[in-house]
């Protein structure tokens, strides 16, 4: 089987940027703050649903589409593939509108994700980790059931097509531009999470993860930190969902099952919770296995779907990881939380070698 290496690479990097954002956001929530978000897929779906529900309807008047087809649900259900193609054609001739729509949709996805994160903070403040996990799994399933059955959103179980906001880029550069944009967005997410990680806020989040009672006793607003983290993490997941919708060109509610959440957990736990390098490595390993299996699965003579085999391998691997290397492939490095002036003075006197090394790192 021959695969065009450049296309494979661009496709790989496009998916990588999506998964990287998801694993970074879970790392922020679970790895750094200790929130057991087992409903990641809900926030991811939020961004995708926004793209699916809004793009065609927003751009239709500009593109001069027949409003009776767009705003009459029964017709929209039938014609949305054609309408999305029309909008893509319109995007091909007006790059400005295309980019503005792309940015606006991603921003709305982030906003919708953040709102859901804000809602999720309420049970997160009240419930133990296990109950919170169950609540978020269930909330994600409720969200999917709603998406599949409430037709005005994304045409129910049929799903909708999403126009291509890069239609204006001519063919050879098209995929490159799209992947470059997605990588740039993922890099922004990385910078945000990394900056949070290194800031006093990140240290506070870790303190809450390690002992929330102690943090509370020291006068820290634990609930507010959790709320902020959930909103930021969910906004990132929402943007990832928007990118996913634009990249695959379609949104279907049944794409957002709890297995997606499981995959993000695999990435974070395998890579190493609590540090972004681990989250990035975990996403890389998962995606590597997944993409290679997708390509070779047609050449494997098995009487069953090879996807199931990959889920079995992932599940067993994750259990083995939890049992034998719970810190992940890249363990979180302990870092001194406080380098006070006293410690620095002591270091100057030659007594605190370790501390000053920590401060430089």
């Amino acid at each position: 089987m021959i695969v065009d290496p450049l296309r494979f690479l661009l496709d790989f990097l496009a998916f990588y940027s999506i998964y990287l954002m998801l694993s970074l956001s879970l790392n922020l929530e679970y790895g750094m703050t200790g929130i057991s978000n087992f409903g990641k897929v809900m926030f991811f779906a939020a961004g995708a649903f926004v793209a699916g529900a809004l793009v065609v309807r927003l751009v239709a008047p500009l593109a001069g589409l027949d409003p009776s087809l767009v705003y009459d649900l029964s017709k929209y259900k039938v014609y949305n593939v054609m309408l999305a193609t029309e909008v893509s054609r319109f995007f091909a001739s007006s790059p400005g509108v295309a980019l503005a729509t792309l940015i606006l949709t991603l921003a709305l996805g982030a906003l919708f994700g953040a709102i859901l994160g804000w809602l999720a903070a309420y049970p997160a403040a009240k419930l133990k980790e296990d109950y919170l996990g169950i609540t978020l799994v269930v909330a994600g399933e409720l969200f999917r059931i709603f998406g599949r059955n409430y037709e005005p959103l994304i045409c129910g179980s049929l799903g909708v097509s999403v126009p291509d906001p890069f239609a204006w880029v001519p063919a050879p550069a098209h995929d490159l531009a799209r992947t470059a944009f997605m990588l740039a967005v993922a890099a922004c997410a990385w910078l945000i999470v990394d900056a949070l990680d290194k800031s006093p806020f990140g240290r506070l989040a870790r303190a809450i993860r390690d002992n929330d009672l102690a943090a509370e006793a020291l006068g820290k607003d634990v609930a507010k930190v959790r709320l902020t983290v959930l909103m930021i993490g969910s906004a990132i997941a929402g943007v990832a969902g928007g990118l996913y919708a634009f990249y695959t060109g379609a949104v279907s509610a049944d794409d957002f099952t709890p297995v997606r959440t499981f995959i993000v957990w695999v990435m974070v736990v395998m890579g190493g919770a609590g540090n972004n390098a681990g989250a990035a490595l975990g996403a890389l390993i998962y995606l590597g296995v997944d993409r290679v299996l997708t390509i070779v699965k047609h050449s494997i003579p098995a009487p069953f779907d090879v996807n199931y085999l990959s889920y079995i391998i992932l599940g067993v691997l994750l259990v083995a990881m939890l049992m034998y290397r719970p810190q992940g492939l890249v363990p979180e490095k302990p870092r001194p939380l406080l380098v006070s002036r006293g410690a620095e003075l002591e270091a100057a006197r030659g007594g605190g070698e370790e501390v000053s090394k920590g401060a430089r790192a």
Partner: protein
Amino acid sequence: MLPPEVIYDAVIVSNLVALLSIGLTLTYMTLKVPNFAHGDLATIGAYVAITAYELAGANPYLMMPLAFLVPAAYSLATYLLVYKPLWRRGANVVTMMVASIALEVATRSGMHVYADVMREAYKTYFRGVMFDDVYLPLGGLRVPGVLLTSTLTAFAMTLALYLFLTRTKFGVAMRAAIENPSLASTLGIDVEKVYAFSWFLAGGLAGLAGVFMPFRVPTDPEVGWLMLLKVFAASILGGLESVFGAVLGGYIIGVTEVVGIYALSKPPISISTAYRPAIPFAILILTLLFCPKGITGVNWRSLLRRGEER
């Protein structure tokens, strides 16, 4: 007035949810981990019966002992090989949950592979399987046999468990070990043996529930997983600390779901019946937010007294 089919379905669903909730609650009481793979134990039980039915035409009810033992052994193996080592190491609850989710995905995918391999090997159906049920003419109504068998099983198991936990030495030791493991172990109770037995029993009861599933719906390897969140709802509603609370939760969830969606899908509301799973999910979220200890945890007497004072 409800049509009889709705009542039959409500009772059957309730029986299955109750059988599954008992086991889920038992295992939760031991290690305090919600076992996401619990639904798949029912799938294994269902497939034990399906395999015998498809290959030898065996009566599914005759396979009940095996449908109890196979998932029970699988559940015990997961406890011994995964949960116990993690628990001994002092792993936190999130780690244990992630492990159970990993086992869930692996088990469900394993059942998919099993179904596909068997279909290829024997050229017969292993997905969308339904058992032929006998219908009993009772007072002019056609009562499905599975209504009686599943009800009998649920009642017999609840009664047996009650007698076991209150009348036998091992059962009392089991309650002690679950309620206060450190005190129980100083009194010479082998806590780990008790826990292992709980996981075994939970798997077996789930497997029995699985045998009834193909009588009701076309069964494929997703069948147990699709029940799971409903079972969580019932167990949490039951308080997750007593198996009888779990039975009660099972019946409330089963009846509310089936009767609720029937009522809501009729005028004046007329929503789609596809929203059916949303009912137990909504109950679950409301329970967790407003009375996280479940219905058995609410101090009803003080609530009533407050009512009297007004």
